[in-house]
Symmetry: C2
DNA sequence: CCCCACATGTAATCCGTTACATGATTAT
DNA sequence: ATAATCATGTAACGGATTACATGTGGGG
């Protein structure tokens, strides 16, 4: 039950239309909570029906016409409630680790190329985050909001750093596995 | 589409009944791909219908009677195919980071306790992984399969290490946020 | 006039979650 | 006997994913 709260957060930061939200979910918020436009439109409908948001009165509600939303006080209250609620961390789910375990049983054919592909992806993401850090969190940006945003970005940077290191180590392990000893 | 492949992997490691699989998904494989018994029974039915696994002939298929499965050659082939297939890494989804971002807008009330709770969970998980490492991967365990399994465990250890460090740093950041300056 | 990009949706399907149902085995 | 536990399922619901549908406005 996090998507509606992700949308409330985005709309509080800046009132937007469905497509603008979709674009913002492709960067920024989407870095840790992704969503497609179909999910977003459906959820906007629900949030409006529940009285958490409303369409800005200026625009007419026709199909193909832009329609922007803003958060109502009830929406802000709900978001604050949810933010403070105790929730268990979701267990990890990672298909690459699963495939690595499978490869120990059915053979490592093809998995090395996958490790390389993933390494390249994570390196690219790391670079992107580091550019954002340099651009948006230089000296002087030190309000409480800045520190919180920076903390979140740091999580992304540290996570991508973990993956690049681990994948590098994994590839080294593969290079030291003599081909004739590999599981098949 | 990873749950059937997780089950095929588990059954190749050792033929099992539905409940035995459920127990193994609570440790071991479940550390990076969790599943409930309902998911597992549903998926076992599908895998059997597709000819990827079969019930061991010894047991009679009555309700309440144990029923063990083994992987057929077609199942092993499918698993090998899937393991070698190119797949994009799934984007990160983390509710705690989302809540932290929301707290920058609606106030940090309550979120600090959540950071502490999560820190405790991750420290406990880290300890568990380190005990497994000591028990199962001491000197002498060095077949290719051992090295692959150890690599997977290292991913878990390094991930939990990342979280404990980041959460510790996050809590320090909060302690330095003067209460009167916090977003509300 | 037509195509394309912008913008908002609907429909079908699959996966995960929660609650419930039912039979078999074992201990008291 | 009966209660607890082991074991295998069904049903209902909701979220995520994929494919498709519909309307608007601007450029060539």
């Amino acid at each position: 039950m996090s998507l509606p709260h992700a949308i409330l957060t985005a709309l509080l930061e800046k009132p937007s239309s469905g497509l603008e939200l979709t674009r913002r979910f492709d960067r920024s918020i989407g870095y840790f909570w992704s969503a497609t436009h179909q999910q977003i439109y459906r959820e906007l409908g629900k949030l409006e029906a529940e009285g958490y948001i409303r369409a800005l009165p200026s625009e007419q509600p026709a199909r193909g016409q832009k329609k922007s939303y803003e958060v109502l006080p009830a929406g802000r209250d709900e978001l604050a409630r949810w933010t403070a609620t105790a929730q268990e961390p979701k267990p990890l789910r990672d298909a690459l680790l699963l495939r690595l375990r499978a490869s120990a049983v059915v053979g490592t054919e093809g998995i090395e190329a996958e490790l390389r592909r993933h390494l390249a992806r994570h390196q690219r993401q790391l670079t992107e985050y580091e550019e954002i850090e340099e651009r948006d969190f230089g000296p002087g940006r030190d309000t409480p909001q800045d520190r919180l945003q920076h903390l979140i970005l740091r999580a992304g940077i540290d996570l991508e750093t973990f993956w690049t290191r681990w994948l590098t180590q994994a590839l080294e392990t593969f290079e030291r596995l003599p081909a004739e000893e590999r599981p098949s």
